[in-house]
């Protein structure tokens, strides 16, 4: 059974239909990559899973449980974490406060905190700094750290490499590889090289519909398919 199933999901934003028919199976474990051009519906897919936009018709099943009509907070309590495109860090809060807010009981598990320090040493350095003062890369680290401060069954990450320096992107890739050993990541990405280095399974969304799904190895080998589904000229 898949960890996450999207069935004929359709989502409207206001009067605009953004997702027309998204059907997708995300298996448990590893990194599942959702690729697509700008405006194809990647972010809307993640937000629909989190209940931030309501899909109708269609359904979202998580571990077999229908979460389509659930409140975002209740979905999050099923151990689903969300790292949005804009990172969603709270600028007026310190790094520590941002992280403690994401803990279930308001206190840190020392083992997990140590792991976060190892993955993202900058967060320990700027522990008492307000998040607005962090660089873009550090904010992204904080956003990801917040997603893994507690054990999660699924982490939804929206374009984590956007606007980041290559060195930070490499560090982020290493972190995701380690995180994916214990959890499932549904990664939305436009940076194909980054996605290719991480993904085991993948899908491409185009104009609100899943246009292709399969293994990343097969997709990476098929340049004609990549051109057709991802290139700007197509």
């Amino acid at each position: 059974m898949s960890l996450l199933s999207l069935n004929s999901m359709k989502t409207n934003i206001g009067q605009y239909a953004v997702l027309h028919d998204v059907t997708l199976e995300v298996p448990e474990g590893g990194v599942f990559v959702l690729l697509g051009r700008n405006g194809a519906g990647k972010t809307t897919t993640l937000r629909s899973i989190m209940g931030l936009w309501q899909p109708s018709p269609g359904s979202v099943l998580f571990n077999g449980q229908d979460i389509t009509a659930m409140h975002t907070a209740d979905i999050a309590r099923l151990d689903i974490a969300f790292v949005p495109e804009n990172m969603g860090v709270f600028g007026g809060l310190t790094v520590e406060e941002n992280l403690i807010l994401a803990t279930a009981k308001g206190r840190f598990d020392p083992t997990r905190l140590k792991r976060i320090y190892e993955l993202f040493p900058a967060l320990e350095t700027f522990w008492t700094k307000q998040a607005w003062a962090l660089s873009g890369g550090q904010k992204q680290m904080l956003a990801v750290a917040r997603a893994i401060i507690e054990p999660r069954a699924l982490i939804l990450i929206d374009e984590p490499t956007k606007g980041l320096a290559p060195a930070i992107v490499d560090a982020m890739a290493d972190a995701f590889r380690e995180i994916a050993q214990n959890t499932t990541i549904l990664l939305v990405e436009q940076n194909f090289e980054f996605a290719k280095s991480l993904g085991r399974d993948m899908a491409v969304i185009d104009d609100g519909r899943i246009a292709h799904s399969g293994t990343m190895a097969d997709f990476a080998a098929d340049t004609a398919l990549q051109d057709r589904l991802l290139s700007l000229s197509a």
Binding site: M50, L52, H71, T72, A73, D74, A76, R77, A81, F82, P84, G88, F90, G91, G92, L93, E97, I100, L101, A102, A104, G106, Q130, W132, R146
Partner: protein, 330 residues
């Protein structure tokens, strides 16, 4: 210019503003005793306005709700406290300070209790159906304010109601040729106490952390597993209770209140929230103190400008800082 800004920042930044205004007023007023009296009056007035405005600022910041009915809680708080004080007039006139204090705190307690219950009702019945629709929020909450005013008229009548003060808060302190009303000192200290409690709650507790985070990014707080709508009801109730307490304090300050009190205070409260910066308790305190000080100084120096002092202050601050003095980070 940058060097001036950096220097001002090191000295306290915008928090320095009331000090600068007070120093300028000192030079312009000339007489130190008048200056002290006006400054204490301004600080006391500012603290009472802070009580009324702090809840509105959080509600505005957290849920983007324009509640023009907020000052109805101020009115009801004032009238309920006045009624309780009148009912306990025997205690107020007693020589025993303990009875004086008991009467005062029962009056405040009644106002706060009303604020909590009415806040819950107002949020659930009136505000909830119009989330995310500013035009309807303005219309329905203005309507609610009018209904509240009419209810006050029906219950307490149209004639001004006099508010008895406890014996121990009557009179003034005389220090040399400086006269300071005891009630003003009390209002200042109570406001300071409420500010300290709010500050500690917002900065040292998990619920405070959630409120601060929710003001910045409500959606993300929900994505972390917290029901912001439930948090909002609690904040709304707290804000309404603080407004009612502010109204009760104001009633004792004015000693004569009319049903138009809410509508009169609404403008001041909104000015404070706007110049302070939305969603920020520190900003609201700063804005309230600025309004209190300016009203007293201008009332003394240029009485004809007194009515316009709040507007002039708001225009000047918004020209300098369009988001207010100390807005919550967004």
């Amino acid at each position: 210019m940058q060097q001036i800004n950096d220097f001002a920042g090191r000295l306290g930044g915008v928090y320095l503003l009331p000090v600068v205004v007070a120093a300028l007023a000192f030079v312009m007023i000339g007489a130190p005793s008048s200056w002290v009296t006006l400054t204490v009056a301004g600080l006391a007035m500012g603290m009472m306005i802070f009580l009324m405005a702090s809840g509105l600022s959080l509600v505005f910041g957290l849920m983007d709700v324009l509640n023009f009915g907020h000052s109805a809680f101020v009115s009801f708080g004032a009238f309920i406290a006045a009624s309780v004080l009148a009912w306990l007039s025997g205690w107020l006139e007693a020589d025993a300070v303990s009875l004086n204090i008991a009467a005062l705190f029962l009056a405040f307690g009644a106002a706060i209790l009303f604020g909590l219950v009415a806040g819950w009702f107002f949020e659930t019945v009136i505000v909830k159906p119009v989330y995310k629709d500013h035009l309807r929020q303005i219309l329905i909450t203005m309507g609610a304010l009018i209904v509240a005013e009419q209810m006050i008229l029906a219950i307490w009548g149209g004639t001004p109601v006099s508010v008895p003060r406890p014996e121990f808060l009557e009179g003034s302190l005389l220090i040399g040729d400086i006269t300071i009303e005891i009630y003003r000192i009390f209002a200042f200290l109570l406001g300071l106490g409420v500010y300290a409690a709010l500050y500690l709650t917002l900065n040292r507790t998990r619920i405070g952390l959630l409120i601060r985070a929710g003001v910045e990014n409500r959606e993300m707080v929900e994505a972390l597993g917290f029901r912001v709508d439930r948090l909002f009801v609690a904040v709304f109730m707290l804000g309404s209770a603080l407004a009612a307490l502010g109204g009760a304090m104001w009633a004792g300050y004015e000693t004569l209140i009319t049903p138009a009190l809410g509508a009169e205070m609404m403008i001041v409260v909104f000015i404070v929230v706007i110049i302070g910066g939305l969603g920020s308790i520190q900003g609201t305190l700063l804005g309230a103190i600025m309004v209190g000080l300016m009203a007293n100084y201008i009332g003394y120096l240029a009485p004809k400008l007194a009515l316009a002092s709040n507007m002039i202050l708001m225009v000047a601050i918004l020209l300098w800082r369009p988001n207010g003095l100390k807005p919550a980070a967004k």
